[in-house]
């Protein structure tokens, strides 16, 4: 058998190691495997090994790392591409594959779901084109409805969840206002409670596109089509707010709460076109992306932009995370996800570019705890999970039937997303170590 002989000559000695906990730990011993196995083959080998040690073992997809790089081709090709010798015993680290293992029931909205937020592990916030915000405690169960807006909601943000009984939520809408809601997530789940805003933030001259809250919860920032970024106070009673509290909604008996109106504390002017997205990752740093093709970093104290990354495409979304929470990922009117490292001196070129999408990218989120993982949602209806260590997506979630308008991580192991098919979809069981 010629082929067999050839196979024998192309065997590679490997040793599977892992940092995973015991049920996933395979016996560490060098074995010889054919060199043309791919990720699937490696995964089945590891599963076999585990089954050997533990008869009740259920198969589990794995990903494999050699020298910190994920394998996405056959082992032989990988070794050749990286110039690694096949002579010595190869140490392959395996991790659980980052891919959703469970798809939860979609939660149907009345209209397109334009905003999703999964910052709190207890609930999911969504914003919808029917001008209502919703709070979902789990898939299919809506606990609160945030009402009051006159236009489609474009963004939602969790402002403050320090208090277990009371949570502050901000929504931004195309009716040029932002609203702040207070709600108790532990309330009865069986019927959804309607919540009115305790504070209306007026000041933008055009649609508000994005809202983001400071870590402390005292401030929120918002970006708008009028090319500005506004900072707002979230306090219930402001000095000038008292005069406005006279304005009460009397039509509705139920909602007798007072609604105060707030004005912008500061306005950051600098973008020349619609500011599509803002994030507030640190105490005094705000990142914004705009249709004027730039990503800017604003210093909250001075109101000056300290960084200006130029990309050449209109940007829809920006997020900061990764290694040291310093990498800036942004994308927009083309299918390429770009990651910049502002710490590198003299950088204007992105350090990573991922281009597996086929349409505009509407959302990017870094994983909260991992340095390497991020997700991107695109108008092509796909959500892709990325690892900085490989140029191919780790997994593609294409449960949506139309454009995905927003997506976020939830609870560290799930992806929540909303799109033009009016559904909130939750893909859970993503193992990110």
């Amino acid at each position: 058998m010629d082929i067999d002989g050839e196979d024998v000559s192309r065997r590679i000695h490997v040793k599977f190691v892992t940092k995973l906990e015991p049920p996933f730990k395979a016996p560490v011993s060098s074995i010889a495997i054919p060199s043309d196995v791919t990720r699937l083959g490696l995964s089945s080998i590891v599963n076999e090994l585990l089954k050997h040690a533990n008869p009740e073992w259920e198969s589990e997809p794995f990903d494999f790392l050699i020298d910190g790089e994920l394998i996405r081709m056959s082992l032989e090709e990988f070794l050749r591409a990286k110039g690694i010798s096949a002579e010595r015993t190869l140490e392959i680290e395996y991790i659980r594959a980052v891919t959703p293992r469970k798809e939860e029931e979609p939660s149907l909205h009345d209209d397109w779901v334009s905003a999703v937020n999964g910052s709190s592990s207890r609930f999911i916030l969504t914003g919808c084109y029917d001008s209502l915000g919703r709070v979902w405690s789990s898939a299919g169960s809506c606990s609160h409805i945030l009402e009051g807006h006159a236009g489609a909601i474009s963004s939602v943000a969790l402002v403050n969840s320090n208090d277990a009984r009371s949570v502050t939520v901000a929504t931004a809408s195309k009716d040029r206002t932002l609203r702040l809601f207070k709600l108790d997530p532990a309330e009865s789940v069986d019927s959804s409670t309607r919540v009115r805003a305790y504070k209306i933030l007026r000041g933008h001259k055009a649609s508000v596109q994005s809202v983001s809250a400071q870590k402390s919860g005292n401030m929120v920032c918002s970006s708008s089509w009028d090319c500005t970024i506004n900072l707002w106070d979230t306090n219930e009673s402001t000095s000038e707010g008292e005069s406005v509290t006279v304005k009460k909604r009397k039509g509705n008996n139920k909602a007798e709460e007072s609604q105060s109106e707030g004005e912008a504390v500061t306005t950051f002017v600098g973008h020349t076109q619609c500011v599509s997205s803002v994030v507030w990752p640190e105490h005094d740093v705000i990142y914004s992306s705009s249709w004027d093709h730039s990503v800017r970093r604003w210093d909250v104290e001075t109101g000056k932009d300290s960084l200006n990354l130029f990309c050449g495409k209109a940007l829809n979304t920006v997020d900061v995370g990764g290694e040291g929470s310093a990498l800036v990922a942004a994308a927009g009117s083309d299918p390429i996800l770009r990651v910049w490292d502002p710490r590198k001196p003299g950088t204007s070129a992105p350090v990573f570019q991922f281009s597996s999408h086929t349409s505009w990218i509407s959302a990017i989120k870094w994983h909260k705890s991992s340095w390497f993982h991020l997700l991107s949602a695109s108008y092509d209806g796909k959500i892709m999970l990325w690892d900085l260590r490989t140029a191919w997506p780790l997994s593609v979630i294409d449960t949506h039937t139309d454009k995905v308008l927003s997506a976020d991580w939830w609870k560290g192991d799930s992806v929540v997303s909303g799109g033009a098919d009016s559904n909130l979809r939750i893909s859970s069981g993503i193992a990110i170590s």
């Binding site: 055009a206 076109q273 009117s333 083309d334 505009w360 509407s362 108008y379 308008l405 033009a420």
Partner: protein, 761 residues
């Protein structure tokens, strides 16, 4: 030794010159001219003569050659000894020598010279001996009185020229004073014969034709001649058998001829030579001296050009070879393969064919060359061939050899002209009929569209979400978003109506202004002519304004400030264009007359100009002043379909129904600066980008073209137009409208497939 050699030389010469000595002698006896010679000349010569005689000795009489040779050597001497009368002597000597030669020697000049050289050498080397010679020979020289005559210049001074030259002249030459020497009268033959008969001495006479005279030879001379004829030495006194005197001392000398020690310079390398070598080396290094010098072409040329080549070529027809006949193939072989031979059916089918279609030659098979009959068509074919060649004149076609690449204009690369729209990422779906018109709002957040399904829709650009729908009965012809960002209203044309719709997008204050604008209070009085055309009505359906026209509205356009809107009624003829002022709710007819059917209108972006495109041309009017158009742009198109103006206002693009697009530089000329023919079908619309140097055209062939159209501030620089991209994607039915995003380099296209597409960079 030297003496001997000299003598031997002279002997040789003598023998050679035997025949000539006759003429030599004739010179010596010139009885007539002795008296004629000028006195002063004689004096000069006399000095010379003595020296000569001394040198040449006895031989001098006989040998003119040696005489002249020694004369030269004498010259050498005289140069040294008496330089005073050098000049005069030279004159005379030169004269003599030339005469001598002219008379006797002529062709032997070259030999003479050699001899001269020899004798010179000898003379200089052995000066002493010469001296002794001279001494011994002096006596003889004195006795020879007639030898002086030799030195006398001949009468004729013409020199050694062929006498034929003077054959037809009356004179034979010139004497020393320059006067003509006339020829003696020729006696006829009888006279001369009688004269010779009479004269007993006639046999001694010779005719000297150089001087044109008869010379009588003396007795001595005739003796010499006789002697020479016998082969003896000419002179009677010459003893050929004289005892040999051995002048050379044969005994060995003790010393070499010179006992001087070898000088030092013989042993050291020459300094000057070294210097020269260095000089040459340097010159070679610096390239002053070049080896292998290319041969210089002779710097001569034909003054009147190479007339032989050009003229003669054009004068006659150049031969053009006849086209070659087709070579015979396998089927014309005498013994072709079987497959070439037609079967009986095929032959029968040939019979049914028209004569033109029938094959000219039917292959046949012969077993041997011997059995081949004569070719029956040979005569006819050769006749036809000749007829062809005669009847079809052959012409040499001149083919211009141009690289087609070089004809292409130099355009910058597409890559350098980024960004421009190239790929479609977003689609706006919802209409149920072809989308006829689209319009973007000034911020670029919204886009309005009108369709034949009667709906006007507003879409969110970012997501493709349809925000608002107004449903009407009639098909929407045209929608236009008010260019003011603070006045978010839309004008839509359908049927005979122009409807102004409130989008309810602005802030509360803006909404109040809009409400006020759209509220029809008491309308101002309008004159009867306008009232007949237009009436302002409230729109019950959506609370806007409805302006009803008397004909179907085909095109609307807002002015830059968003207050005036112009409407075009294609069938309205002279009343086809009106403008409405929204703030005053007033309609105006144009003051000026429109010739032809109006197609579309435009307001100049910054000045009070108004462009009206009719089917054939575009006229520019000033709204404030004259009635006549200030400019007429001749498009040369069959039918204009659309028009767009550059944001600067100076450039205009016009699309036509034959698929041509014209770019006008209104400052430059009334003719198109460029005409682009790209679309195979009608252009439906054209658009300029507000800030990027882009323009686009869309067509019924379901494509949209994007061009780079850079307008420079420098008036001397023409706009740069580069085709960038063909945008496909719409299904059949064509693209009905295209508009650029106001801020991004994106293009919206509205298709007949009821989809709006957004092309991004």
């Amino acid at each position: 030794m030297p003496k001997k050699s000299k003598g031997a030389n002279k002997d040789d010469k003598m023998r050679e010159n035997k025949s000539k000595s006759v003429s030599v002698k004739s010179q010596k006896h010139k009885p007539a001219e002795k008296e004629l010679k000028p006195v002063e000349e004689k004096e000069v010569i006399s000095l010379k003569e003595e020296e000569l005689l001394q040198e040449s000795g006895t031989d001098s009489d006989y040998d003119a050659d040696s005489l002249s040779g020694s004369l030269n050597s004498d010259d050498f001497d005289s140069d040294i000894f008496d330089s005073e009368d050098d000049d005069s002597q030279r004159e005379t000597k030169d004269g003599e020598s030339s005469e001598d030669r002219s008379v006797g020697v002529g062709h032997e000049g070259s030999e003479d010279n050699e001899d001269d050289d020899e004798s010179e050498q000898i003379d200089s080397d052995n000066g002493e001996e010469d001296g002794s010679d001279e001494g011994s020979e002096q006596g003889e020289a004195v006795e020879e009185s007639d030898s002086s005559e030799d030195e006398v210049a001949p009468r004729n001074t013409v020199g050694d020229v062929p006498l034929v030259w003077y054959k037809d002249e009356k004179h034979i030459g010139y004497d020393i004073t320059g006067k003509k020497i006339t020829k003696k009268e020729k006696r006829d033959k009888l006279d001369s014969f009688l004269a010779t008969m009479d004269d007993s001495k006639n046999w001694r006479k010779i005719y000297d034709d150089y001087n044109d005279e008869e010379v009588e030879l003396t007795k001595e001379e005739s003796k010499i001649i006789r002697r020479m004829l016998k082969g003896e030495a000419p002179h009677a006194d010459f003893d050929p058998y004289a005892p040999y005197v051995d002048w050379f001392k044969w005994d060995d000398a003790i010393h070499p001829l010179s006992s001087a020690p070898e000088p030092k310079r013989r042993f050291i390398p020459s300094k000057w030579e070294a210097k020269m070598v260095v000089k040459y080396v340097r010159a070679i290094r610096k390239g002053w001296i070049k080896f292998d010098k290319p041969e210089e072409e002779p710097n001569v040329y034909l003054l009147w050009g190479d007339d032989s080549a050009s003229d003669q070529k054009n004068k006659h027809l150049t031969y053009i070879p006849p086209p070659k006949l087709k070579l015979p193939g396998h089927d014309e072989s005498y013994n072709p393969s079987l497959e070439y031979i037609p079967t009986e059916e095929e032959k029968a089918s040939y019979e049914l064919m028209y004569e033109e279609d029938r094959p000219k030659f039917i292959p046949k098979r012969f077993t041997s060359l011997r059995s081949i009959p004569a070719y029956e068509n040979a005569l006819r074919e050769s006749f036809e061939r000749c007829l062809d060649l005669y009847l079809c004149p052959r012409v040499r076609k001149k083919r211009i050899n141009i690289d087609p690449e070089s004809l292409k204009p130099k355009l910058p690369s597409r890559k350098d002209l980024r960004p421009y729209p190239n790929s479609c990422y977003l689609e706006y779906k919802g209409h149920t009929g072809p989308v006829t018109s689209i319009s973007t709002d000034s911020s670029g957040q919204w886009i309005a569209s009108g369709s034949t399904d009667g709906s006007v829709r507003i879409w969110e650009v970012e997501t493709g979400r349809c925000l608002k729908i107004w449903q009407f009965v009639e098909a929407i012809k045209c929608v236009s978003w008010n260019p003011l960002s603070s006045l978010p209203i839309i004008a839509a044309a359908m049927g005979r109506d122009l409807v102004i719709l409130n989008t309810e997008l602005g802030s509360d204050e803006e909404q109040e202004i809009i409400k006020e604008r759209l509220h029809l209070g008491n309308l101002p009085e309008s004159d009867a002519s306008v009232a007949a055309i237009v009436s302002w009505l409230p729109d019950e359906l959506y609370g806007g304004i409805k302006i009803r026209h008397f004909k179907n509205v085909s095109y609307i356009h807002w002015n830059r400030k968003g207050d005036y809107i112009s409407t075009v009624m294609a069938s309205g003829e002279t009343r086809g264009v009106v403008t409405h002022q929204l703030s005053k709710k007033l309609t105006r007819r144009l003051k000026f007359k429109i010739r032809g059917l109006p197609v579309c209108t435009l307001f100049h972006p910054s000045r009070s100009y108004f462009f009206i495109a009719t089917r054939k041309d575009v006229r520019v009017f000033n709204l404030l002043e004259t009635d006549e158009p200030i400019k007429k742009l001749e498009t040369g198109l069959k039918e204009i379909s659309s028009m767009a103006i550059h944001p600067s206002g100076d450039h205009l693009i016009v699309g036509s129904k034959e698929g041509k697009l014209c770019w006008f530089d209104t400052d430059l000329s009334s003719k198109p600066y460029k005409t682009l023919k790209n679309h195979p079908k009608d252009i439906t619309n054209v658009a300029f980008h507000r800030s990027y140097p882009l323009f686009a055209s869309c067509s019924e062939d379901s494509t949209a073209y994007v061009f780079h159209g850079m307008v420079y501030n420098d008036l001397n620089q023409n706009p740069l137009i580069v085709p960038l991209e063909i945008l496909r994607g719409h299904s059949n039915g064509g693209v009905l409208d295209c508009k650029f995003h106001p801020r991004q380099p994106w293009l919206f296209t509205a298709g007949a497939d009821s989809i709006i597409k957004l092309y991004c960079h």
